[in-house]
């Protein structure tokens, strides 16, 4: 059984007891515990079940590589699934639940999958579910979805109770990893004067060195770490961050790191996590190494752990994972675990060293302590179901004949170490196979390259394949000094710390234990614990022709779990290489991609949630619309009133009332969102002639003209009224959505094509509030405000005047998008609200109503005015819309002119704009197609046109629509069928698109 030791635990504070619950049961831990160490301290060996076979699983590791101990943490609005128990700090009253089991952790129905495992071979999904096809959707998928998956998603009704934040940081040298290598690199770079960020994922500096009894500069590693930190903290150019994991490395020195600020104190009120978005000149990768498991039958059972993890729990947390531990190893390092356990008073009945000659000084030290070392020995099998009862011992190079059975409850394994090369690989750093140490390490000759073509990542220490402290410190010092120098730091990096190292004997890789194990045993040797991928699966994949490591990964799901192959990768590809009978470098490795470990969605979103999820654009009159109870419509990021329903009024009734009131008396519209671009300069007229299809240079001062803009491909991209404010100065109105886009369009042409033209533009959209006063009483309302002569003679249709209107600084445009007598009045934005109120007061006696976007749309449709985005979709040219009159034939050129002369653009079969009136008076469905007999090559029904705008017109008293129809203008009076979603058809008569006041008398009074 696992238990807290009476003494030890350098990371825990035994005076601070924390209570927590696991699956509803109260347990006790100490401050400084991880969830994993606290669970082990409470004899909780079984922590979850595997993904595919639901096999019982225990804690294997002590860091980010942990594949099994994923738990649900918290409850309600703070519940989060798949939290790695080995890297999550314990906090008081933590609620922990195990995952992937039903009905209980101890008894799981899904484990029946395990009994059927020979029916679930590699590639099972691909093989089984191809036929019959309907079975996939209706039978297999629902069953698999129910059984598969790890943690459950948070409840749909909950909202994450925490807040998250981003931070942008810039530095010369960013060092990932705060072990002795990272600290040494930071010292070198910091002393030299570079701007340094040193980020450590865990809550502790120093990494493994203090656990592994390293001696640095003649002192215990922990003492040196403290001294290094003191020196670094005193350097103003060095930023130190604990609990900050470098998650991803991207192009041009862009590095993302996740800082866990309040995970361990959820109620503290600060942002729970922070995403650091760093731009660094040089990245130093000092991420250490991860120990590899050994592949023996039953190696996935709870109680089988990494040897390094066992001693971490003993030394760091004062927890012994078992009362009696058998060590099995192919290298010297695991002897440290044996010695640590022995020092802690725990039983180590045997050390199995697969090497026939055993190890070096550490083996001798173990023997000196009286520990039994069996060389050339391995594990043949593990007895026990959801815990370890004994290890059956065999010849490591044999077939698995059991020579002895040793009782134990933990088996601590070490298959050697693999450098953590993930960050190196994220932006393309390549790896090289190190035959002597049996691992892939970064290939310095094929390093990641920055924007300037220079190497921008340097790997240091154990991550660079150095396993002894002396080499680690030298390498890290050189890396830090080099990074700083390359960034222009001129100070002295000082000297590397000094250390000695125990003499070791080399590792002897053993990828399958025992080497000649039977097929039955290989089917119980797990490579990927989370995804249940076994040695036999990889060998089967090889037999079935999967030679590429990438294909094998996807076929078997090896390394595809949330741990992303941190434990399984090397073992898996070694087995694959063996099966393919080729050396490991020839097989190669899969490529690590960001993130290093999963990052929660809230952290990625950062501040973009709730009120700041998206910028919401408000006009200067927004608050008044809100008070009036506006029914809102999103228009881009703007919020515009769709209509203003009164008490007891439906949306439809409100729209109808707004239209009728406007047509019979007067209405007012907040048109502030319309784009307003000033174009000025000696070449402004020439420029406007190029931008618009019609002639703008001939416009007189004080006059307005409706214009169309096309892309260079001839398609209609925007429209609006152009006003000539003064000689050489134009005001171009754009659509609401076009303001930024058209301004950019103008600037692009000015800056790239006509850079020698003397024209300046400015987007002044937000400087003004613009209010349309519309209807037969519009003039009467504005005249009440006084100050300007707005009579038909003084300000005829399509004219502009500037003055003081009711004391407001007004630009009055006599333009109409409704067909009524209409003025659009622009005032400085700060005066907008006051002007709106003044118009409302003046209009009260006429029953003035504010109207929204829907009334605006219906009224323009009644007049047959097009709307960009309704009548246009990027494929429509002005000629399709009957707008030939707005295309100048006199001008030598304008954007789109040449394109519009192409044969396809002048094809008489192009669909063209018509009005549509349903025979039964109903409203045509939006987007409906005009169908015709026959089918196309794909068997789809033929179409001859489509609806572009469709409304109920309260003015006409029926459904009206506009649409594009083949030969449309020549088919007036014809009846055409339009489809409905339910498959039926509606008949509509082809009519003129101008339904209301075709002579235009009303707007011109």
């Amino acid at each position: 059984m696992s238990a807290r030791l009476a003494q030890g635990g350098r990371r825990i504070d035994r005076t601070r007891v924390l209570k927590f619950r696991f699956n509803g049961q109260w347990m006790r831990g100490f401050e400084g515990d991880t969830l994993a160490s606290a669970l082990l301290a409470n004899d909780q060996i079984l922590v979850g079940r595997s993904f595919k076979y639901h096999r019982p699983r225990g804690i294997v590791a002590s860091g980010a590589e942990e594949p099994n101990a994923l738990v649900g943490l918290g409850k309600g609005a703070r519940f989060e699934p798949n939290q790695r128990a080995t890297t999550t700090e314990l906090f008081d009253r933590a609620e922990i639940t195990s995952q992937n089991h039903w009905p209980s952790l101890a008894f799981d129905v899904g484990a029946i999958n395990a009994a059927l495992s020979r029916f679930f071979p590699a590639g099972f999904y691909y093989k089984t579910f191809m036929h019959p096809r309907p079975f996939w959707k209706h039978v297999f998928e629902p069953v698999i979805r129910h059984a598969a998956g790890l943690g459950r998603a948070p409840d749909a009704e909950t909202r994450d109770a925490d807040s998250y934040s981003h931070a942008y940081a810039f530095c010369d040298v960013l060092i990932a990893g705060g072990g002795i290598a990272g600290l040494q690199a930071a010292l070198a770079a910091g002393r030299a004067g570079a701007r340094v960020m040193l980020l450590e994922a865990s809550a502790h500096w120093g990494g493994r060195a203090p656990v592994d009894d390293a001696v640095i500069d003649g002192q215990a590693a922990g003492v040196w770490v403290d001294a290094a930190l003191a020196e670094l903290s005193a350097l103003p150019n060095v930023t130190l961050r604990l609990r900050t994991m470098v998650a991803g490395v991207y192009d041009h020195g862009y590095v993302l790191a996740v800082e866990r600020r309040a995970d361990h104190s959820p109620e503290a009120g600060q942002a729970r996590q922070r995403l650091w978005r760093c731009r660094t000149g040089r990245l130093v990768v000092a991420t250490g190494a991860i120990e590899r498991p050994l592949s023996f039958a039953g190696n996935d059972k709870p109680g089988v752990m990494l040897a390094s993890a066992v001693r971490d729990y003993v030394i760091d947390y004062g927890v012994s994972p078992g009362a009696s531990t058998v060590i099995v190893t192919n290298n010297d390092d695991a002897y440290r675990t044996a010695i640590a356990l022995h020092k802690a008073g725990q039983k180590v009945p045997a050390i199995l060293d697969t090497r026939s000659q055993g190890g070096g000084e550490l083996m001798d030290a173990s023997k000196a302590l009286g520990l039994r070392v069996l060389t050339g020995a391995g594990v043949a099998a593990v007895r026990g179901l959801s815990s370890v009862i004994s290890a059956r011992i065999c010849d490591a190079k044999g077939t698995g004949a059991v020579t002895e059975e040793i009782h134990c409850d933990v088996i601590a394994m070490s298959g050697g170490w693999s450098p953590v090369v993930n960050l190196w690989s994220h932006t393309g750093g390549k790896l090289i196979w190190d035959e002597a140490e049996a691992f892939f390490r970064p290939d310095a000759s094929r390093a990641p390259i920055g924007a300037d073509g220079e190497v921008n990542a340097i790997v240091a220490g154990t991550a660079n394949g150095h396993l002894d402290a002396r080499a680690v410190l030298r390498d890290a010092h050189a890396a830090g000094a080099r990074a700083a120098a390359e960034m222009g730091a001129t100070g002295s990096p000082g000297d590397a710390a000094q250390t000695d190292e125990a003499a070791t004997l080399p590792i002897e890789p053993i990828w399958v234990m025992p080497e000649h194990a039977s097929d039955a045993k290989r089917a119980k040797m797990f490579l990927d614990f989370q995804n249940d991928v076994k040695v036999a699966d990889v060998q089967l994949a090889a037999r079935e022709g999967f030679e590429s490591v990438e294909h094998t990964k996807r076929y078997t799901t090896l390394g595809m779990a949330t741990d992303q192959g941190k434990l399984s990768n090397i073992n898996g590809l070694a087995v694959l290489s063996d099966a393919l009978d080729q050396p490991i470098p020839q097989t190669g490795t899969t490529t690590f991609r960001p993130p290093y470990a999963p990052v929660t969605m809230g952290t990625i979103a950062g501040e973009a949630r709730s009120d700041t999820f998206q910028p919401l654009r408000r006009t200067p009159i927004h608050t008044r619309h809100q008070e009036a109870g506006a029914h809102w419509e999103p228009v881009g990021h703007w919020r515009r009133p769709y209509c203003f329903p009164r008490a007891g009024e439906s949306i439809e009734e409100a729209v109808a009332r707004e239209i009728t009131t406007t047509r019979t008396s007067v209405g007012m519209l907040d048109a502030s969102t319309l784009g307003k671009i000033i174009v000025k300069g000696p070449d402004a007229g020439r420029f406007m002639d190029m931008m618009y299809t019609n002639m703008m240079s001939s416009l007189g001062v004080g006059r307005c003209r409706y214009g169309l803009m096309c892309s260079e491909n001839g398609f209609l991209i925007d429209d609006g009224v152009v006003v000539k404010l003064a000689d050489g100065t134009y005001l171009a109105h754009t659509t609401t959505g076009g303001a930024d886009r058209i301004h950019a369009h103008m600037e692009e042409w000015l800056q790239t094509e006509w850079w020698d033209w003397q024209v300046y533009t400015a987007n002044v959209t937000e400087a003004f509030a613009q209010i349309a006063v519309v209807g037969p009483k519009a003039r009467a309302v504005l005249e009440k405000l006084g100050g300007m002569d707005l009579s038909a003679d003084a300000l005829p249709f399509m004219r502009y005047a500037e003055g003081k209107l009711g004391g407001f600084d007004a630009r009055v445009f006599r333009i109409s998008f409704s067909g009524e007598l209409s003025y659009e009045v622009a005032v400085p934005a700060a005066q907008g609200l006051g002007f709106w109120d003044a118009v409302a007061r003046a209009g009260a006696e006429f029953g003035i109503t504010p109207y929204g976007t829907e009334a605006l749309h219906v009224m323009r449709a009644e007049k047959g005015f097009i709307m960009i985005g309704d009548e246009t979709d990027g494929t429509v040219i002005p000629q399709d819309l009957g707008l030939h009159w707005a295309i100048s034939k006199k001008k030598e050129d304008f954007l789109g002119k040449r394109a519009q002369s192409r044969s396809h653009m002048s094809d008489p079969n192009r669909w063209q704009l018509v009005g549509l009136e349903t025979v039964d008076g109903s409203v045509l469905p939006d987007g409906s197609y005009a169908v015709e007999d026959g089918v196309n090559a794909n068997g789809q029904g033929l179409v001859q046109g489509r609806v572009t705008s469709t409304y109920h017109s309260p003015t006409i008293g029926r459904g009206i629509a506009m649409g594009l129809l083949r030969h449309g203008p020549n088919r007036m009076g014809e009846t055409v069928p339009f489809n409905r979603v339910d498959g039926s058809h509606v008949l509509a008569k082809v009519v003129s698109p101008v339904f209301y006041d075709p002579e235009g008398e009303k707007q011109n009074v």
Binding site: Y168, T239, G269, G606, Y760, V764, A767
Partner: protein
């Protein structure tokens, strides 16, 4: 939770957008406003009176709200036939101030800009983004940042800045 810096909404500001070639503008601008035309990514003065570099041929002049129209008229008269564009854009943008020792840290949560003393000292201006919207800001004092963003998103910007301030100092630019 102590705030890292105080965020306040500046009152109405006078702002004039001025486009033209710097060599043609500098004399008239100095004559009318008394300010030298600032160099690349620089600003002289700030709210109430100042001149900011916005792009190689664009500047922003600050004056009291209500004085911009007169400033435009004076500039237009002074520049005569010189090709330029001078506009009163006072109401297009909202102003903010971030005041306190951690003002750089507050802004660093929202803008992808190197805000270190060396890169962004007093008299420096940046046009960039604040989370999802455009903004411009400058160091108006040793511990004071002034900022403008478009009026339509003023509420969003204020929410962003207050959140960032409430979340406490980063301890990155301001070491405590």
């Amino acid at each position: 939770m102590s705030e890292a810096a105080a965020v306040t909404r500046a009152g109405p500001q006078g702002m004039v957008s001025l486009r033209g070639l710097p060599e043609a503008l500098s004399g008239p601008v100095r004559a009318v406003t008394g300010f030298d035309l600032p160099g690349q990514r620089s600003i002289t003065g700030g709210f109430g009176g100042g001149a900011a570099w916005m792009s190689p041929d664009e500047f922003m002049l600050f004056c009291p709200h209500g004085a911009a129209a007169l400033l435009v008229a004076e500039l237009t008269a002074s520049l005569g036939t010189t090709h330029h564009l001078a506009l009163d854009v006072s109401d297009a943008r909202a102003g903010f101030a971030i005041d306190g020792p951690a003002c750089r840290d507050v802004l660093a949560k929202l803008a992808p800009v190197d805000l270190s003393q060396d890169a962004f000292g007093e008299g420096q201006i940046r046009r960039t983004r604040l989370a999802q919207v455009a903004a411009a800001f400058w160091m108006a004092g040793p511990e004071l940042i002034q900022l403008v963003a478009f009026n339509s998103v003023a509420v969003y910007v204020e929410d962003l800045l207050r959140q960032a301030a409430q979340d406490g100092p980063l301890g990155f630019y301001s070491r405590t």
